[in-house]
């Protein structure tokens, strides 16, 4: 809880993108057949089809990164609230304290993500606008997760912007 978990997700994403770059270079290499010897799915394809397959996978990795970074953010926020709520264990009478906290800790897992963001808003002042942006990241995440409906396209987002908004919120939460 004392460290920001999002950097690890970003490192994995960058490594994945590097792998795509390596695969793209290998696809144009004169020794392509040997370089693709363990790539059972790509090896039978011609150079153009390999390029298409890699580009498609690269696009999907961008979308999956937004899902992944959101999941890491949401887990962080729920755990943060559960940690902060530990003060409930100090209320009187003590017999009530332990049961109230157990209930609170369990319930936090079911709170709506939008409500959690609203709870954090005053903590982030004067940067409460980040919550509005995080809601847009959530909207985009939901659009991806629910099959990208064509008639309900949310505002566009890039992996960079999704990361930077959520990362900034986590950094500010860790200051409190």
């Amino acid at each position: 809880m004392n460290s920001n978990p999002l950097s690890t997700v970003r490192a994995s994403y960058r490594a994945t993108k590097d792998c795509f770059q390596i695969a793209m270079a290998a696809n144009k290499h004169p020794d392509k057949d040997n370089l693709f010897v363990k790539a059972n799915n790509l090896r039978p394809l011609n150079q153009v089809n390999v390029k298409q397959a890699i580009e498609q996978a690269s696009r999907e990795s961008d979308e999956l990164f937004v899902l992944d970074i959101w999941a890491a953010f949401e887990r962080f926020a729920r755990t943060y609230l559960q940690e902060k709520g530990k003060k409930l264990q100090e209320i009187c009478p003590a017999s009530l304290a332990s049961s109230v906290y157990v209930y609170f800790e369990k319930e936090v897992e079911f709170w709506r993500a939008e409500d959690i963001l609203d709870l954090l808003k005053s903590t982030l002042a004067p940067r409460a606008y980040l919550i509005g942006q995080a809601k847009q990241v959530l909207q985009y995440r939901n659009w991806i997760a629910h099959g990208k409906k064509l008639h309900k396209i949310p505002p566009k987002i890039t992996p960079v912007y999704a990361f930077d908004i959520l990362n900034e919120i986590v950094d500010l939460m860790l200051l409190n």
Binding site: V48, I153, I157
Partner: protein
């Protein structure tokens, strides 16, 4: 009497028109930057379908798109506007090749996204992205994403080579 919905419709229209103006400015530059290259640069029209204001105002509108081919009419890349509604930025254009390769170019404003950083015992406000000295179109590389690169002739050539197999 102007209602809240009318006002938001007006704001949405202004947002769209500002975006179109910026797209046209960049496309004018792109044509100029490539005029001496052995490439065919053509402007065609396409459609954008987007939620232009948060969750409630949607729009479908026509935008220009730049198609870049070799003199032999082989496709190199196209520059396709994708929308005015972008989180953090003020608009986006994708540069794509026919196989699905893609990079995003976004319009960023000076004094846009600012962050708090701890320097010694004090918190200092600074821009999230370096080098955003003017309102302009920028590219953020996935491995060096806090150093924004402004769109110019050199970067355009680099992005065309990054996205496609074309070499200058």
């Amino acid at each position: 009497m102007t209602t809240m919905t009318d006002e938001r419709q007006i704001q949405a229209e202004e947002k769209k028109q500002t975006y179109l103006k910026r797209v046209n400015q960049l496309f004018g530059n792109v044509k100029e930057w490539l005029k001496d290259e052995p490439l065919l640069v053509e402007e065609i029209l396409t459609e954008i379908n987007e939620t232009i204001m948060n969750d409630d105002i949607r729009d479908i509108y026509t935008v220009p798109m730049i198609v870049i081919n070799t003199k032999n009419h082989e496709k190199v890349v196209h520059l396709k506007p994708v929308g005015a509604a972008v989180i953090v930025a003020k608009g986006m254009i994708d540069i794509e090749d026919p196989y699905g390769g893609r990079e995003h170019i976004t319009y960023m404003v000076k004094d846009g996204f600012r962050v708090l950083r701890k320097v010694g015992d004090q918190f200092v406000e600074k821009p999230m992205y370096n080098n955003v000295d003017t309102d302009n179109w920028y590219w953020l590389s996935y491995h060096d994403w806090h150093n924004a690169q402004v769109m110019n002739k050199t970067l355009l050539r680099k992005l065309i080579m990054e996205v496609s197999d074309y070499e200058f």
